[in-house]
């Protein structure tokens, strides 16, 4: 039984169908990357998984237990398992780096402040920011903010970390520091779902690559298959277009 099982998942914004019959299985410790043209529904899939959007049909199960999206309480439970980091960081602007990381464990999980703070300091050290603990988001570079956002997401000890184009808003010279942080998490065996346009990185870290188009999963396979020997025409076109530049 796979760790995360997405079964015939569909979702829409109003009347517009955005995800159609998504099926996907993720094993514990796996790194699954999602690629595909803009507007193909990659962000929407992560939004459904992290409880920001209610699916229209289908189901998501973690370790055999189906997630329920009906009551806010169920949703909050689901969210403790799934963390997400966004393209635009979305840090709390009125809080320091440390406070950004400690707030959720403190007020959501109601854990002891001292214990939470010690863990947060360790997390910020791990992402290479021990020297910026008291900085506010507007005092940090994009790369630093994104690393704080990753530390914040990890503070709740999620089972799966979702990363939605986390380097797309960064200046080119800041991309590698964030990718290095993700590599560290990969070495720790963190289960991740990564939406990214950094094809070299995707190829290097992924155990599995999902190619999406028009709200559907078109092809799934190991990176070698997707990048070197795609089995579908759409995936072939997309990959050749991307790898040309």
């Amino acid at each position: 039984m796979p760790y995360l099982e997405i079964d015939n998942l569909s979702a829409d914004y109003g009347k517009v169908p955005v995800l159609q019959d998504i099926n996907l299985a993720v094993e514990r410790g796996e790194i699954v990357s999602i690629i595909g043209p803009s507007g193909s529904g990659k962000s929407t899939l992560l939004r459904v998984l992290t409880g920001l959007l209610k699916p229209r049909a289908g189901s998501v199960a973690v370790a055999g237990e189906k997630l329920r999206y009906d009551s806010p309480k169920d949703l909050r439970r689901a969210r403790e398992k799934f963390a997400i980091v966004f393209q635009q960081f979305n840090l709390f602007q009125n809080m320091t780096a440390l406070r950004n990381v400690t707030i959720a464990p403190t007020i959501v999980q109601k854990r002891k402040a001292a214990e939470v703070e010690a863990e947060a300091r360790a997390l910020l050290e791990k992402v290479g920011l021990s020297h910026r603990i008291d900085a506010y988001p507007d005092e940090m570079s994009g790369g630093q903010q994104q690393r704080v956002a990753i530390a914040r997401a990890l503070a709740l000890k999620p089972d799966i970390l979702h990363l939605d184009e986390v380097t797309s808003a960064l200046d080119p010279e800041l991309v590698s520091e964030v990718l290095d942080t993700i590599r560290l998490l990969a070495d720790d065996g963190m289960t991740m779902m990564i939406v990214s346009h950094e094809m070299g990185f995707v190829r290097e870290v992924s155990s599995k690559v999902v190619f999406m188009a028009d709200g559907r999963v078109v092809e799934v396979g190991p990176p070698e298959q997707i990048f070197d020997n795609p089995q579908t025409q759409r995936c072939t076109d997309f990959v050749s277009r991307i790898l040309r530049h």
């Binding site: 992290t50 409880g51 920001l52 806010p72 909050r76 969210r79 403790e80 799934f82 963390a83 997400i84 966004f86 635009q88 979305n90 840090l91 709390f92 602007q93 009125n94 707030i103 959720a104 007020i107 959501v108 999980q109 506010y136 914040r152 997401a153 709740l156």
Partner: protein, 224 residues
């Protein structure tokens, strides 16, 4: 021109003037608080309320923003008695100042509501915050920070506007200066001293406001 400054004739009235400054400050604080509350209600209705209420609120705001404060208070003081509403001059001025400030602070606070960052609320949601928690920890601190500087300015403007009360015979700072002037006829001395009182009043207020702003909201700025 051979005008000799004679502050000596005015010095006996310094405490009397200080009392006037105190009344001006009270007027400003009360008008600000009432105006802030009016502004909050109006801004909420304008942004989130039903259409008829929105139209009523917009009419009030547009009317106030496009007429002079003095005319508004004349209306309250001289025209309302025709409808059986008789106010003493202090209350008429206070209500006029508050209604005027309310319209300005409605516009200011609307801008605050509009600056709420949807993405931060979403981030709070994915971290498992309840609705109340995201309002308490994310929305309110953000709005306060955005609103603090323009609301501080508004307070200073109201403080200056209290001088209009003199026209209605309220013995605040300008009213008292006017009284002293008609006794001593030392206009230059009397009004320059009252100007100094206003400056002291606003500098003290600004300093307090800036200090609070810097400490609680990380707002950079200085009085000068």
């Amino acid at each position: 021109m051979n005008y000799t400054l004679q502050f000596g004739q005015v010095t006996p009235y310094l405490w009397y003037l200080a009392g006037g400054a105190w009344i001006a400050l009270q007027l400003a604080v009360v008008a600000f608080i009432i105006g802030w509350a009016i502004g909050l209600v109006c801004a909420s209705i304008t942004e989130y309320g039903p259409k008829p209420a929105r139209i009523a609120v917009r009419s009030y705001v547009v009317f106030v923003l496009n007429t002079p404060l003095l005319v508004q208070i004349f209306f309250i003081y001289f025209a309302l008695p025709d409808y059986g509403i008789l106010l003493d001059s202090y209350d008429a001025v206070l209500i006029g100042l508050a209604l005027n400030a309310g319209a300005y602070m409605s516009e200011i606070q609307r801008a605050g509501f509009r600056s709420i960052r949807r993405e931060e609320i979403e981030a709070a949601e994915t971290l498992g915050f309840t609705r109340v928690q995201s309002i308490r920890y994310v929305v309110v601190p953000h709005i306060l920070k955005v609103l603090y500087p323009p609301l501080s300015n508004q307070f200073i403007i109201i403080t200056m506007s209290t001088s209009i009360a003199a026209i209605f015979g309220v013995e605040e700072l300008t009213g008292r200066a006017y009284n002293i002037n008609s006794i001593t006829f030392r206009s230059l001395e009397v009004f320059s001293i009252s100007a100094v009182y206003y400056i002291v009043l606003t500098i003290v207020a600004s300093t307090i406001l800036y200090t609070v702003g810097r400490y609680f909201f990380r707002i950079k700025g200085s009085v000068f």
